[in-house]
């Protein structure tokens, strides 16, 4: 059993190639900026990483809403929610790190108590809480319900974080790309747009793998119970020679227990 397939392998190779092209364009082909100089190169990573962070938490919110809605309730939505949250948390950490590097170079400090930065840090803390909550609940239904409630709050924080530069007085740069006349041109514009494609592919590859991993974990949990029940049954009955190898193949511990049970029966 594996979380990879020919599709994910193709996606992974494409993502790797796209990131390599992004690095080449971003580091050598794209010229330095007239105002920012070499610092412009952070734009080929940071905005795309931050967008993937939002996309991850957006997927998490979508999965949670669809799970909470009785008509669409399915474990698939819960898997999508956890995949989105976990990948979103990774990209959120990357956003904070790349943003700090930018901050040190542009503002002279690694961190400042700006609305955008603070909300992103809160979002990261919320995502860690979300993931910790999921690990603390064993029952799949309870886990999905509780984590969905927290996911909705994360979605609210994403909206606040996104509009923070418009709603609050903030040091953070306003939108560069998504406006009627973008304030970036030529190779810089091409490279920045490409960074969204490259990191989008990385994001998709990670989400697909995490989704499948969650499905495998669920399968392991459900089949683990069946294996345990079978082993307990084997302990209570004398095991025939034909059946023993099958039990032994399933679980070494249960085979040993079955052998002990058989030995007890023989003693009697």
């Amino acid at each position: 059993m594996s979380s990879s397939s020919s599709l994910t392998r193709a996606l992974g190779i494409s993502a790797l190639a796209a990131v390599a092209v992004n690095a080449w364009w971003g580091l050598s082909l794209s010229p330095p900026d007239k105002v920012q100089g070499q610092l412009v190169r952070i734009l080929y990573v940071h905005p795309a990483v931050a967008t993937m962070c939002y996309a991850g938490f957006g997927l998490c919110a979508l999965g949670s809403i669809c799970w909470l809605w009785p008509r669409t309730r399915s474990p698939r939505w819960d898997r999508l929610a956890v995949a989105g949250a976990e990948v979103g948390a990774v990209f959120c950490a990357a956003t904070l790190i790349t943003g700090s590097i930018w901050g040190k170079a542009a503002w002279g400090v690694w961190w400042t108590w700006d609305a955008r930065l603070t909300l992103t840090a809160i979002l990261f803390a919320l995502s860690l809480g979300y993931l910790a909550l999921r690990r603390a609940v064993d029952n799949p239904h309870s886990r999905a319900l509780m984590s969905s409630a927290v996911a909705l709050l994360m979605a609210l924080t994403v909206v606040l974080d996104h509009y923070a530069t418009a709603w609050f007085a903030t040091l953070h740069q306003h939108t560069t790309l998504f406006k009627p006349s973008p304030s970036i041109h030529g190779w810089q514009l091409v490279t920045m747009c490409w960074s969204f494609v490259a990191l989008g592919l990385v994001f998709a590859w990670m989400v697909v793998h995490r989704y499948r991993l969650e499905a495998l974990e669920e399968r392991y949990e459900s089949e683990g119970y069946l294996v345990a029940i079978e082993a307990r049954r084997a302990e209570g009955q004398p095991v025939s020679a034909a059946a023993r190898p099958e039990t032994g193949r399933v679980l070494v511990g249960s085979a040993a227990s079955a052998e002990r049970a058989e030995a007890l029966v023989e003693d009697k």
């Binding site: 809480g129 909550l133 603390a136 029952n139 927290v150």
Partner: protein, 222 residues
Amino acid sequence: MWRDAALVAGKDLRVEGRAKVAVNQVAPYALVVLLLFGFAFDQDRPLLVQAAPGLFWMAVLFSGLLAVQRSFSIESADGAIDALRLSRLEPAGIFIGKVVAVAAQLVVLEALLAFGVVVLFQSRLGGAGLLVASTLVSTAGVAAAGVAYGALCVGLRARETLLPLLLSPVLAPVVLAATEAWRAALGLSRGDGWRWLGILACFAAIYLAGGAIGFGALIEET
């Protein structure tokens, strides 16, 4: 619902009145936190006066976490939460009742902490209207969010560590807005404190409404 809320609030406050955990443990802890803040600033009095609103609300946050944990630890002992579930009380009423009980304890604690801030940090309390209004609304928000997340964590195995991890980032906007409102009330900033009060009121309203709606589903799952 309101009758159920009064019953639950009365029950929680009676339990607290008999056990005296808030008086014997939470309140001294809050004062120790204030003292530690004083040590950390090392007699830099002007800085301490400037930072007093933030330190006050951080002490409230830490103590609030303890009060919420206490509010649900009495329910998880001896299967009391099952009795609460089977009692046919309205879940929204249980939620409101627990919020009122936690908020009542926090208000007493805040009065004590405000006294501590005046004595230890030599702050001058002023702007009584804004100060009292922002304190009451913030307390409602802290209690509502605390009880909602407390219900989420009540049956979980790592609830002692999980609750602070989940609740602290959620309460960050309250700490920020309440600190700014207090700074405006005490004349430490020129900002409009009433604007921050509006943010606090929105936060409290969202958590009171969300908690009242979702509390039934949450305690069913614990």
